[in-house]
């Protein structure tokens, strides 16, 4: 079957959204494939990074947003470092994740958003990461309650590498300031996404 690619069939809005939010010129990509060649996780992705770039150019939002590619990006920045067109591809992957979490698309990944939510809550309430709480809550919510408990977790506890008590702010007013800061950030983030949709 002959398929002719025509400008009028391309959903340009999606590419523009991604370009605006990531501030990267994705239309510059000329498909050299360096990003896919260097990507350590390309073997596990539905589409390698260079293909995602092309799909964004062509406005294929359903395929891009339902693929696991952006969620499997490990943020090692190899693609960004090697891109001859100076596109920050790792940042584009971040943007796709942010867009997925903003709610206009169906999430194709559950575990990482759960982990992120617990992680940021820990920073909000204690200022630092409370490992034991993070691992415990993540294991429960992701329905793998015994993951990494034995032998690694146990051995870490024996070696004194895990703190039982969370770090706390020395100064309680810092805690209030911190919670207020997170609230403000959430408000600003909502405005940002709204601006994009407007």
């Amino acid at each position: 079957m002959k398929y002719e690619l025509q400008l009028k069939n391309i959903a340009e809005g999606f590419r523009k959204d991604v370009e605006n939010l990531s501030q990267q010129k994705i239309s510059n990509c000329y498909q050299c494939g360096k990003c896919s060649a260097g990507c350590p996780v390309a073997y596990a992705m539905d589409y390698p990074p260079s293909m995602i770039m092309r799909m964004v150019q062509l406005g294929m939002h359903d395929q891009v947003m339902s693929s696991n590619t952006s969620w499997y990006c490990v943020s090692c920045e190899t693609c960004t470092t090697r891109c001859p067109r100076e596109i920050d591809i790792a940042k584009v992957m971040d943007t796709l994740k942010i867009m997925a979490q903003a709610g206009s698309y169906k999430l194709s990944e559950n575990e990482i958003p759960i982990f992120d939510w617990i992680f940021l809550k820990s920073i909000e309430l204690t200022g630092k990461i409370y490992e034991l709480g993070l691992i415990g809550a993540y294991n429960l919510l992701s329905l793998h309650p015994l993951k990494d408990i034995y032998p690694m977790g146990l051995k870490m506890i024996i070696k004194g590498k895990i703190n039982f008590i969370p770090h706390l702010f020395y100064n309680p007013s810092e805690l209030i300031k911190n919670i207020r800061m997170f609230k403000l950030i959430r408000k600003k983030d909502r405005e940002r996404i709204y601006e994009k949709n407007a």
């Binding site: 090692c76 971040d94 575990e111 920073i123 200022g127 630092k128 490992e131 691992i135 600003k188 940002r192």
Partner: protein, 290 residues
Amino acid sequence: MLKVAYFPGCSLSSTAKEYDISTRLVCEDLEIDLVEIPDWICCGATTAHITSELTAAALPAKSLVWAEKQGLNITSPCSACFSRLKMAHLHIEKDPKLKKEVEEVIGEKYNGKTEVMHLTRILIEQYGIENIKAKIKKELKGLKIACYYGCLMTRPAEVCVNDRVENPMLMDNLVKALGAEPVKWYYKTECCGAGFSLTKTEIARKLSGDILKEAKDCGADLVMVACPLCHSNLDARQPEIAKLIKTELNIPVLYFTQVLGLALGYNSMDLMLNKHFINPKPLLKAKGIL
């Protein structure tokens, strides 16, 4: 005397205590003054920049502003924290809108006068290899070390000042100065899968396994790292990885401050070598270092 603001990061107060202890010990010995930032908050790590650009910039900005007020440069031994601090600085500088939002959120002005440097650069570049050489008490003769840089210390190119992105030599030069032999190998800057250690563990195991296998094949006695996340993947997950790839690995993984500490004459208790999953003591004893 060098004086610099110190951002230890969350890992260094729990899973990587030995990195914190050895860092402070070595810096005291070399008379580098580390001023810990009071009530510092987490840099946000990978989580922040995959959920919101503003969070990723605002969290490190708090520490940067504090250091700026004191007139100090800022350092972190953790590659991930270093990368977040540096990237936040670069992003805020590049994007005036983001800068305005960050200032609004943290309630303070951001001038961007502070330089962010990884601890390796403070020790090896600023303090200087020649000065370190003068302090050596015990040469690490006969030890073959694979220097593992990982991702966040060297990438993207903007954070990798005065070194080659694809083939960094900073730690190799240190190892040579300490009398040991840096191994030539090809996985120096490959990713260990740090961000996926808890969520997509099978990927972290595969990537770390490749690195350990390569180090072993190139004849390394031990792997030297400068990041607590690389360390926990290469060391604490090493028994699982060995089982998975059905190869006996048994390569100790040491922090670069611990290797430096050994050359400065400290013993295994001082440097907390007993905290590692893969015990480095038999190897070091066989080489006559401990």
